[in-house]
Structures are given as structure tokens and as C-alpha cells.
Amino acid sequence: MEPAVSIALLPEVILALAGCALLLVGGERRRTPAAPVAVLALAAVMVAGVAVVVTGRPDASPGPIAGGMLVIDGLATFFRLLVLTVSALILVMAVGPLGRGGGGGAELAAMVLFADLGAFLAASAAHFASLFVGIELVTMAVIVLVACAPGGGRANDRALKIFVPNAALSAVMLYGVSLVYGAVGSLELAAVRLHLEVLAHVNSMVVLGVVLIACGLFFKVAAVPFHLWLPAVVGDAPARVSAFVAVVPTIAGLACLVRLSSGAFSPVTGQWWVVMWIASAAAMIFGSVAALVQDRVKWMLADLWIAHAGYALMGVAAGTDAGTRAVLVQAAVAGLVFPGAFGMVALLESRERSEIRISDLSRFRSGGAPAVVGIVVFAGALAGIPLTAGFVGRWFLWAAALEAGLVWLVVLSLVATVVGFACCARVVVPVIVFDSRPEDASGAAMARDGWTVAAVTLCGLAIVVVGLWPVPLVEWAVGAIGRV
């Protein structure tokens, strides 16, 4: 048995301590001087990042640590850093709002850290216990985040929309775990894999367990039809919260799916493949089509996010190393694109106006060429135009899926991509003006929030750089899964 405590748990410890500290510091006073909140949270994320890099073992297939609960392999490190990056970006965007004080800022920042902690566990799980607990922690933190986010009574409302379905689906997933446990007699992922490989044929209990677990994870990655909560929550919440709510649980869920797909459940090829195929196809098509007529930008982004999750599932469905690599790349790309896109939306939001419609995007014109270029870059990346990161992500997915023979899935995804193009073209239209005057010429220009602008700029640059020079990212992804 491994020692339960390891130096490799340093990032988790840092996050946990920082989270607790934030909760305690910010707990009582309703008007915290909250600039330190953001700084503290950011610092925690940074330090955790350093710790991840220091303690992460880039070499493939290291042994489990923490009593067999975690395995800090390349995959884990990849997802950990990704989650931290996303969190950092969103925290930077949130410096402004948090810095303006108001109650709950500390809780919000703490929940970001807790969600990261959960994602850490989920991404490096070597045991169903840590997987379940980690993914639940992500969800719980997100629920609190949503519930505590500004927005009056609607915040509770939104939280409820995650809470109830999550209760049902996590129970279902847990039931699936219990079935798998019953069928193979172990909860350790490696042992599960060994048992399943030994089994002469996959019995229906295993299938049940696997599919139920998949359903639970689909809820987290918002695959159709488990996606319903996502647009309802993301479309409605403040943009910065939306970004976090959309991106982090999905990345955690994807990490779990990848881990199970290439590890524990790799012997269950047929059923796993079918389920992933359907979820992927449904998510891609639904997401793109639903986004097409969305007039509300955040809802549209939410729908597109569903489509992106669907693309990523294509890599999971492929089930090969190339597929895994593609999922990693796609996750990284989406993790850069969506925070940036939500950040752009955040620049338009104000207390009076939280619902941003496509025509409102014309307000970006007040930001001059950089804003316009930004919108074009993000729209291009969302659409997957070459030379942006969006294309890189999809390229690897297509390649992997084709290699695995999923031709029709690729064709469907191409259709979805084209439909997605249409959405993105719609987004660009009011910004590039085409002479349509903004409805409220007197109305608000975009907010001048330096932190948000900085984060968005960073995202945009990263998108372009990855689009032009994807080699480091790809190399990293290749290294992360150890093979290929």
C-alpha cells in the first residue's frame, strides 16, 4: 500500500489551504476589501501551477500515490495545468468585479480553487473513489459558485438547475460504479482493467455499470441529452461565471472519460464506442444547430460549447492513442477559446444589462480595431478556421476519428462545423458593422476593464500562436499520454 500522503499532493494541498483561507478570511465581513481576494486566489493558482510542474512526473505510467488513489502521470499533469490555466485566466478577468468588493467575492474565489481541486482529483484518479469525489467536488463548487454569483434571485434558480439533475445523475453514476465493483471486485482503475481483460466476455452487468458511469460523466461534459443544464445556467449567469461553469466541469469530465477510455474500460470496446459515438454525434449536431438561431450570445456560446464537447468526444470514441491526444489538444484549445470568448462578452455586460444579444456586439466597435480583431479571432477559432487554434483541435480529432474508421462521425462533425461557421459568421456581422447602426448609439460602449482585456488578449494571442505553431501543444499532448 502506498503511503497516503505524498509530496506529489502538494498542489492539492495548496489549493485546499488557499481555498479554506479564502473562505475564512472573506467569510464574515460583507464588504471585504476584495482586491486581496483575487490576488490571493491568483497567487494560489500560480503556486499550484508551479507545484504541478515541479511534482508532476512527465514520464509515462508512474505508480499510484496517495494510497492508490491518484496517479500523477502526464495526462494528469496536462489536465491539471489546463484547468489551472483556465482558472487563472478567469480569475484575471474577475479581478475587476472581485476588486470592487461586495459580499461573496471570497466565496467565489474559493469555489474556483475548490473546483480546481476537484478537477485535479478527477484528472489524476486511479480509483473510483477519487474519481467520484473529485468530479462531485467540481460540481458542488460550481453549484455554490453559481448560487453565490451576482444576479439576485436568479442565481439560486440557476444553481437549482445544476443541483437537481446532478443529484439524479450522480446517483446513477454511483450506481454504475457499484455495479462495476460488483462485477469485477475492485475499485482501482488498474485492477478493473485487469479484471475486465481477464473476463471471457463482457457481461451485461459491466455494460450497465460502464454505461451508467458514462451517463454520469456525460452530465459533466454536457453531452446531449445530458446537456440541458448548461445553456440554462451558462446562458444566464454573468459571463465570467459562465466561462468557468462551462469549461472546468467539462474538462474534468473529459479527463475522466479519457482516463477510463484508455485505461479501465479499454477492454469494453464495443459498448463504450457506441455510447461515445452517439453522444458525440448528438452533441455536435445539437450544439451547432441550436446555436444557429440563438440571439443571445451567451446561450450561443453555451450551445457551441456543447458542440465542442461533442467534437472532443469524437476523440474518445476513436479510443486510440491518437484519439486521446486529439482530446487533449481539443480540450486545451477549447480551454483557451471559450474563456476568451466569454471574456469578450463580459466586457459588454453591466449590471443593468446582463443579457447580451448579437446586435449588442456592435458595441465592440467602440473598442476600435483591437476589439474587432479580437471578435474575428475568437469567431474564427470557434468556427475552426485554419491558422486558428480551433482548426488545430478539430484537425487532430478528425484525423484520429478517420484513422479509427469513424467516417460518418467525421462527416457529421463536418456538417456541424459548417453549421457552426454560420453561427460565427453571424457573430462577426454586427461587429464588422456592415453599416448597421448599433441599437443604442447613446448606449454603453464596451467596458474598459484592463484585467479582462489583458486576459482576453492573452487568449487571443494564444489562439493565434497555437493556430500558427501548434507543435509545442501537440508535443506536450503526445508526451502526456506517453505513447504514439
Binding site: 439524479a168 446513477v172 450497465l208 454505461v211 451517463c215 443544464w229 464495443g270 444547430v289 444557429l292 454560420a422
Partner: protein, 682 residues
């Protein structure tokens, strides 16, 4: 392919001459079109520049022809490459090997082309001389463009005449077509001219397409594009079992010739082209048709010799056109249109002769035709100007005193062309008719009974043509003037240049024809031939007599009007040109436009509909999903609200989606996934 023979000891540098012949009108076109149109250029300079091209061409052309006739005793066929155009493209042929397409601008000098070059350059310079003098009176600034286009036409015609291979022929043909088009539309204001020009150019597209197809067949099936090589190949082919390819080439070149010489059913372009300035009209009528039509026919006359079917087709077309055009000429009231129809008729006769094998007579007729028509067209210009622009024959009459030069010239030309024995026209027509009749008697196999019909056509046509020409001269020059304003003597009448244009060709035709006719007419010997000759002479004289009776003796045209009243239908039909033009308009033109409009609709509705339809479908699905959300949501809220006992309370129509609905859908989804997974398991 340049035959190696004679390269070394060339007495005259033919190729240089050919260069000059072809290039000088082109250069003339360029100079007139670009330089002379500049505003600073003096009128005198412009006139000079107009003459440079045709003059040089005439000099070089005659030098070429003469030196070929004189300096080259062997009379060998010579081919000159004026420059590579395309080379090195390999084309697989029907024989299975590769043919290297080496396409040069190739010129072929032989008896036919030498003579035709001489003819064309002569007409060219004469017309230009006339034009310079004639147009001098008008002081129109835009004449340089006209000259440029005329030069272009000359160049094109020379290219056709000299062409040594099919591509060169095509280039020349097209150049002629474009120049004719430009000449026809040269009065930009005239909608009618524009329509005629458009029609002409479109019709010429058909000819060009035919020629292009012929080139393709020649290259693919016979592996050569040289006229000489092709001739050998075609003859070899046609004399044996005629292959489809050879016949196709024959039919296609014949089609080109028919279009170029404005035969039925393509004659309209020529008869409608007469609304141009006279010099342009003369170029078109006497140069363009000769080159683009007759020359093509003559070049490929061997096809008709070798294949009776093609010959018969051409002969039929020619004969029919002869009669038709001559008949239409009888009722034309516009002097220029009358001349146009006369031209078409004479070309028909020439084609009939070529097809029937009376090549010599036909060539002779064509030379006469070109000269006489030049005279007639240019003379008509003088006449019309004398009448202050009126072109209606009924408003003329008695102009012989006002325009004596024109009168005598046109009179001579008409006499020659109408076939008054023993002049050239008679000799030629007689020769052709006799040849046809001969053919019918001697070798019935070729034409069979059709010969006699064709001969009948020819005879009838001769009579009608004689009437038409006589009508022209009588109505214009004889009797008394019927117009309103007194005719004024046109200053152009006396300008030497004009005299050249109008009188010189007529005289040339008169004397040349007379000489040849008197000397050549003696060849005939048998009784039948004498009978035929007599019959031809008889009908011609009878025709002229009839015309004289109607138009000369009755200057008031009472008789003519009486005839017109008596035969209103006939007159209407003839005036409408057998409605051939209308037929085109109603079928082809309307049909094309109709089809285009329908296809446009189809394109916009159906084809585009599919593209847009796909888009609409996706957007529609998207809307539906959105609407479904909303409807389902509303229904759900209302439904649950009733159960909740809150009926009557206003329920907010917001995006509050009932959370438990999520759970239901998700559980259903899980169940479906489970079911599918099990199904996949089985």
C-alpha cells in the same frame, strides 16, 4: 510544312511579299484606328493614312501575283510559314499515334490564291480610293474608324485567301467576320445596323464553330491541318469508302462557305448589312463574301468533286438561293437592299457552278461579281447622295443626267452581270448551266435527276436576275425623276477617286468579260450546247425586255403598281423574304431568350433552392428546436401550474426551464443509451 523545293533559288522573295500583303492592311487598321483618330491629325493626313494600308497591300499583292505568274514558270504550289503559333503540343490521333501540333501562320501560293489576292487587293484599293474621295465630302470625324475596319476586313480576307492551313483559314475567316461586324455596326446610332451586326457575328460563330470542328476532325482523323495534306487525305478517303470523318469535314467546310457567301438560310446577314456607309458595304459585299465564302468553297471544291452528296447539297442551296434572292430583288424598293439581294443571287449561281464542277466558269463569275458589285454598290452611294439620301427606288428615276459616270458604270456592270450575251456574265452563267445540264446527261450517277431541276433553277434565276438588274438600272436612271426635290449632281461624281471606285471595276468587268467571253465562247460545239446557250441568252434578253417594258416604257410605275396590286400576296411574301428572317426571330431568337429566361428561373428557384434550402432546413430545424423549447416549457409550466393550484396566476414566460423536466429527459437519455449499448452487445 514548307516544301523544300525552290527554297534556295527563289527568284522573288515571296514570303516577304506575303508578309507585306498581310501586314500592311493590319498596320493600316492599327494606324487608322489609333493614330489617325487622335484629334490633332489633319483631315488630309487621315485620308492619306487611309490609303496607306490598302495601297501597300495592292502593290505587294499585284507584285506577288505577277511574280508568281511570271517569275515562276513551274507554277508550283508554294507554302510559306509566317511564324509559329503553337508548337510541340502532342495530340493523340485516331490512328493511335501522337501527332505534334505544329501550327504556323501558313500561306499557300497557287493559281487560285494568286488570282484572288490580286482581285482582293484591287478591290481594296479601289474601294478605299473611292471612300477617301467620297467621304471627303461628308466631313465626318469618325471616318478613320471606318477606314480602320475596312483595312481589317481586307487583312482578314487576304488571310483567308492566302491561308495554307486550316487554322490560318479560321483566323482569317474570323478576322473577316469581326471586321464585317464592325463595319455593319459602324453607324452606332442605327439600331437596325446594330441588330444586323449582332446577327452577323452570331451567325459567323456557327461558321467558326464548324471550322473549328473541321480542324479537330482533320487533326484527329487525318493527322494534318495543312490544306495540301488534307486534300490528299480527303481525296484518298473519299474516293474509296468515304469515311464519316471525311464527309463531316466536307460538310463543315461547305457550311462555312455557305455562311460566308450568305446563302440560304444564312443570307440575312448580308442583305441586312447594306445599311452601312457604301464603302463598307462594298467591302463586305464584294470582298468579304468572296473571300470568306467563295474562296473557302473553291479551296474545298475537290470535296464536292469527290463526293456527290455534298456537291448536291451545295448545288441545291446555291440554286435555291439564286432563284430566291433574284425573286426578292424584284420587289425590293430600297436600292441598297436590291443590290444586296442581287449579290446573294449571284453568289448562289457561283456556288451552283462550283458544286456542279464548272469551276472555271464559277471563278470567272466570281471575279465579275466582285468587280460589278463594287461598282454597283459604290455607284448606288453616289446615286443616293444625289437624291439627298433617299434610297427608295420609287423616288428616283432619270438620274442618268445628274450622275452620268455612275450611270454608265452601273449600266455596264449590270449588263455584264445580268448575262447579256456575249459579255462575261453570260459566258459564266452559260458555262455553269451547260455544265449542269451536261452532268445530267453524261453522268447521271452524280446528281441524277436533280440536274435538270437545278438547271431549271439556274435558268429561272438567270431570267429573274436579269429582270432585277435591269429594274435597278431602269428605275434609277431611266424615265423621269419621281422624287420631290430635284436631284442635285453629287460633287463626288466627278472626283477622280470616285470615278476609280465606280467606273474602274465596271470597265474592267465589261472589257475583261467581253474579251474572255468572245474568246472563250467559241469552245462549245455540240448542238445541245448551242441550244442551251441560246436558251440562256433568250431568257436573259426576255427578262431584260420584260423589265424594260415595266419600268422604262412606263416611267410612272403604273404598271409596276398594277402588278403589285394584282399580286399582293406574292409581293408581301417576297418583301418579307419568305419570312425566313421572321422565322429566325420567332424560333431561334425567341426560343433562346425564352429558354434562357426559364433556365434563369430554374437556376434561381431550383438549383439555388437546393443550396438555400439546405440552409433554410438547418435554420428551420434550429428554430424548431428553439420553438419546441419554448412551447414545451410553456406547456409544462402551465400544466404544472394548474396542478399546483396556481391557475390564474400569471406565469412568467422566462427561460426558467422546469428543472425536473431536465431530469426526465436525462433519465430517458440514459435509458436509451443503455438500450443501445445492450443492442450493440447482442
Amino acid at each position: 510544312m514548307t516544301p523544300p523545293a525552290g527554297r534556295g533559288a527563289e527568284p522573288v522573295d515571296f514570303s516577304a511579299l506575303i508578309w507585306i500583303v498581310v501586314i500592311s492592311p493590319l498596320a493600316g487598321a492599327g494606324v487608322n484606328g489609333i493614330v489617325a483618330r487622335r484629334s490633332g491629325v489633319a483631315q488630309r493626313t487621315r485620308r492619306f493614312l487611309a490609303l496607306v494600308g490598302p495601297g501597300a497591300a495592292a502593290a505587294a499583292g499585284w507584285a506577288l501575283a505577277l511574280s508568281w505568274w511570271i517569275a515562276d514558270p513551274g507554277k508550283t504550289v508554294r507554302v510559306f510559314d509566317l511564324g509559329r503559333w503553337i508548337s510541340g503540343v502532342e495530340l493523340p490521333t485516331a490512328a493511335g499515334d501522337l501527332m505534334r501540333l505544329e501550327i504556323a501562320m501558313s500561306c499557300r501560293l497557287d493559281g487560285l490564291s494568286a488570282m484572288m489576292v490580286a482581285l482582293v487587293v484591287t478591290l481594296g484599293i479601289l474601294v478605299h480610293l473611292f471612300a477617301v474621295g467620297f467621304e471627303k465630302q461628308e466631313r465626318d470625324e469618325d471616318r478613320s474608324r471606318l477606314f480602320a475596319n475596312q483595312n481589317l476586313l481586307l487583312a482578314g480576307s487576304l488571310a483567308v485567301v492566302l491561308a495554307g492551313n486550316l487554322p490560318t483559314l479560321l483566323v482569317g475567316w474570323e478576322l473577316t467576320a469581326v471586321a464585317s461586324f464592325l463595319l455593319i455596326v459602324s453607324d452606332h446610332r442605327s439600331a437596325r445596323g446594330a441588330a444586323a451586326g449582332t446577327r452577323m457575328l452570331i451567325v459567323s460563330r456557327i461558321g467558326a464553330a464548324g471550322l473549328l470542328l473541321a480542324i479537330a476532325i482533320a487533326a484527329f482523323n487525318f493527322g494534318t491541318l495543312e490544306l495540301e495534306g488534307l486534300r490528299r487525305a480527303l481525296l484518298a478517303d473519299l474516293s474509296g469508302d468515304a469515311s464519316g470523318a471525311a464527309v463531316a469535314i466536307g460538310l463543315l467546310v461547305v457550311l462555312v462557305g455557305v455562311i460566308g457567301s450568305a446563302q440560304l438560310p444564312f443570307h440575312v446577314w448580308l442583305t441586312e448589312s447594306v445599311h452601312t456607309p457604301v464603302s463598307a458595304s462594298a467591302m463586305i459585299v464584294s470582298v468579304a463574301t468572296v473571300a470568306a465564302g467563295v474562296q473557302v468553297m473553291l479551296r474545298f471544291a475537290f470535296v464536292m468533286e469527290a463526293n456527290a452528296a455534298i456537291a448536291l447539297a451545295v448545288a441545291t442551296v446555291g440554286g435555291a438561293t439564286f432563284v430566291f434572292a433574284a425573286m426578292v430583288a424584284l420587289v425590293q424598293l430600297d436600292i441598297r437592299k436590291l443590290i444586296g439581294h442581287v449579290a446573294v443571287a449571284q453568289l448562289g449561281l457561283a456556288l451552283l457552278g462550283i458544286a456542279a464542277g464548272a469551276k472555271w466558269s464559277a471563278v470567272f463569275l466570281v471575279v465579275l461579281y466582285a468587280l460589278c458589285l463594287t461598282s454597283l454598290v459604290l455607284g448606288s452611294g453616289v446615286v443616293v447622295r444625289s437624291c439627298a439620301g433617299a434610297r427608295d427606288l420609287r423616288r428616283m428615276g432619270g438620274l442618268s443626267e445628274v450622275a452620268p459616270v455612275s450611270f454608265w458604270s452601273m449600266f455596264a456592270a449590270a449588263v455584264v452581270l445580268a448575262g447579256v450575251p456575249p459579255l462575261g456574265g453570260f459566258v459564266a452563267a452559260n458555262g455553269i448551266l451547260a455544265r449542269i445540264f451536261d452532268a445530267g446527261i453524261v453522268d447521271r450517277g452524280a446528281f441524277g435527276g436533280m440536274c435538270f431541276l437545278l438547271w431549271g433553277f439556274g435558268l429561272l434565276g438567270s431570267a429573274l436576275a436579269a429582270v432585277g438588274l435591269a429594274r435597278l438600272v431602269f428605275m434609277v436612271f431611266f424615265g423621269r425623276f419621281r422624287g420631290d426635290e430635284e436631284p442635285a449632281s453629287c460633287p463626288a461624281e466627278t472626283v477622280p477617286a470616285v470615278v476609280f471606285g465606280v467606273a474602274a471595276p465596271a470597265l474592267a468587268a465589261l472589257f475583261g468579260g467581253a474579251i474572255v467571253g468572245l474568246s472563250g465562247g467559241a469552245g462549245a460545239g455540240t448542238g445541245i450546247e448551242w441550244t442551251l446557250t441560246a436558251m440562256t441568252a433568250l431568257v436573259v434578253v426576255a427578262g431584260i425586255g420584260a423589265a424594260a417594258r415595266i419600268y422604262v416604257l412606263d416611267s410612272g410605275l403604273v404598271r409596276a403598281e398594277y402588278l403589285a396590286r394584282r399580286l399582293p400576296t406574292t409581293r408581301r411574301i417576297l418583301l418579307a423574304g419568305l419570312w425566313i428572317d421572321d422565322l429566325y426571330r420567332l424560333t431561334l431568337v425567341r426560343g433562346a431568350i425564352w429558354a434562357a429566361a426559364r433556365l434563369d428561373d430554374f437556376d434561381a428557384r431550383v438549383v439555388d433552392g437546393f443550396v438555400c434550402g439546405a440552409r433554410h432546413t438547418i435554420v428551420g430545424i434550429s428554430w424548431l428546436s428553439a420553438i419546441f423549447d419554448r412551447l414545451a416549457l410553456d406547456a409544462l409550466v402551465r400544466w404544472l401550474g394548474d396542478g399546483f393550484g396556481t391557475a390564474g396566476r400569471t406565469l412568467q414566460r422566462s427561460q426558467v426551464v422546469y428543472v425536473q423536466g431536465f431530469v426526465v429527459v436525462m433519465v430517458i437519455g440514459a435509458a436509451v443509451l443503455l438500450g443501445i449499448a445492450f443492442a450493440a452487445n447482442v
